[in-house]
């Protein structure tokens, strides 16, 4: 119980004292996860709409695989990305291992199935509603996808936020591919793991509370932005 209180005090102190290390790793956490989120959305959202509107041979199999991949163990993803990016690996020449780019790649792999699955669930329902109308109006495939993505944007936002949540709190993969190098690849979660390992529970908890606050703020910010965009309707 004392550790928790100490943690809260530490968190408050870290924020108030404008601790440069804290702000650096918090900014890196945000940068890595937001980059991963943007890339993952660019892949997952069109994919989920395509899965909703298009009937093709391996559609069911693709959806089942996506659903299964939602539970992908991050540390295994990290390991696979590590093998690919390591000096002797196929992409070793790029020299990406232990850089923020490698962390972004790992996070994209982790959150794409999650976003695509959640987005597909809601777009499938929307498509059931729109199906006859859009076919009657001769909407082409790209137009159908664009319509679903636009009209389903609220549900897609939820999917994206779920992806952000998973990404920002993820530690296994980025620890493996990033290496938790101070001033290079250290982010909130890896710093917490490190401080816990060192026995600095108060500092670790403090960082943890800051991380939670960060996550909540991003969620609120995105909701606020989307509401102004749609004029507060729905």
């Amino acid at each position: 119980m004392n550790d928790l209180l100490d943690g809260l005090t530490q968190a408050a102190w870290l924020v108030i004292s404008l601790n440069p290390d804290l702000y650096e790793i918090a900014a890196r956490s945000l940068r890595v996860t937001l980059a991963a989120l943007v890339i993952a959305c660019a892949i997952a959202l069109p994919l989920s709409a395509l899965l909703a509107v298009q009937r093709f041979r391996f559609r069911r199999a693709t959806i089942a695989v996506l659903n299964a991949l939602m539970g992908l163990p991050p540390v295994v993803v990290g390991l696979v990305v590590y093998v690919f990016l390591s000096r002797s690996g196929p992409l070793g020449v790029l020299g990406l291992l232990f850089t923020p780019t490698a962390m972004v790649i790992a996070q994209v792999i982790i959150i794409v199935p999650l976003i695509a699955s959640i987005a597909h669930q809601s777009l499938r329902e929307l498509w059931a509603e729109y199906h006859d109308l859009l076919i009657s109006m001769n909407a082409g495939r790209a137009q159908r996808i664009a319509t679903l993505l636009w009209d389903g944007r609220r549900a897609l936002l939820t999917a994206a936020l779920a992806g952000f949540g998973r990404g920002v709190g993820e530690v296994g993969a980025i620890m493996v591919v990033g290496g938790n190098i101070d001033h290079a690849t250290r982010v909130m979660t890896t710093a917490i793991a490190l401080e816990t390992g060192k026995g600095n529970f108060a500092l670790a908890l403090g960082l943890g509370f800051v991380l939670i606050a960060l996550s909540v703020m991003v969620n609120l910010a995105i909701h606020w932005l989307s509401r102004t965009e749609t004029g507060g309707r729905w």
């Binding site: 509603e129 076919i135 001769n138 319509t147 636009w150 389903g152 729905w234």
Partner: protein, 237 residues
């Protein structure tokens, strides 16, 4: 643009899960005005409309238009029994079919605003279409179907569960549309409406065309017993 009609449906059958929904149906559609599709529940009115429009997979038979199939598709519109509202504003709903056909945004917006006023929804342009009342939805769906000036319009129960004044407004729009040269095929349960609007009647029973005749002939002297019984208000199945 080439001519769409006459349309010839020959031996059209629709089966679903091994059950025959309609067919075989032979039907010719030509001329002007409104054709009323009447018949008891489950006679296949909706299925026939969808089949003619190309929304149902035909298990047998064929539908021939006076022009190639893909051109024919673009000259038709359909209003569903429960109008499908896009989750957008009223104006965006009206603009949607025009934007699909790549009409420039400004022109689409102007046409949409005009239709909005014509159906009595002015002042509601920015409102979300999914919160409209039943009558307003039906009018919006109708305007959205007519905004591309289709040559042929299919209507599935356009005024089911609407009150008198809403029905009158819908019928006024339909009369206007036929005046502008749109051919209309509508399924209806409302015999009064069929009498008021139709030039031609197709009586559907058990998935087949039981009787087809000009409206005046059909209502005054139906040729079949089932049609006579149906008009008299007896229960026909």
């Amino acid at each position: 643009m080439s001519a769409l009609l006459p349309m010839r449906a020959s031996g059209v059958c629709v089966h679903r899960r091994g059950k025959r929904l309609i067919g075989p149906v032979d039907l010719v559609l030509d001329g002007q005005g409104i054709t009323a599709l009447i018949g008891p529940n489950g006679a296949g009115k909706s299925t026939l409309l969808k089949a003619l429009h190309g929304l149902e997979r035909l298990s047998a038979g064929r539908i021939d238009w006076a022009c190639p199939q893909h051109e024919a598709q673009q000259m038709q519109a359909f209003v569903f029994q429960t109008p499908v509202m896009l989750r957008r504003s009223v104006l965006d709903n009206l603009m949607y079919p025009l934007r699909l056909a790549r009409t420039p945004r400004a022109a689409a917006r102007a046409a949409a605003a005009q239709w909005c006023a014509r159906i009595g929804l002015e002042g509601m342009e920015g409102r979300l279409a999914t919160v409209l009342s039943g009558g307003e939805r039906q009018k919006l769906a109708l305007a959205r179907a007519l905004i591309t000036s289709p040559k042929l319009l299919f209507l599935d129960e356009p005024s089911a569960s609407l009150d008198g004044s809403a029905t009158r407004e819908i019928e006024a729009i339909l009369t206007l549309a036929t005046g502008a040269g749109t051919r209309i095929v509508m399924a209806t349960h409302d015999m009064g409406q069929a009498r008021r609007l139709a030039r031609e009647v197709v009586f559907l029973r058990r998935g087949e065309v039981h009787e087809a005749a000009p409206a005046a002939t059909f209502f005054d002297a139906p040729a079949t017993r089932a049609a006579a019984a149906f008009l008299a208000g007896d229960i026909v199945d």
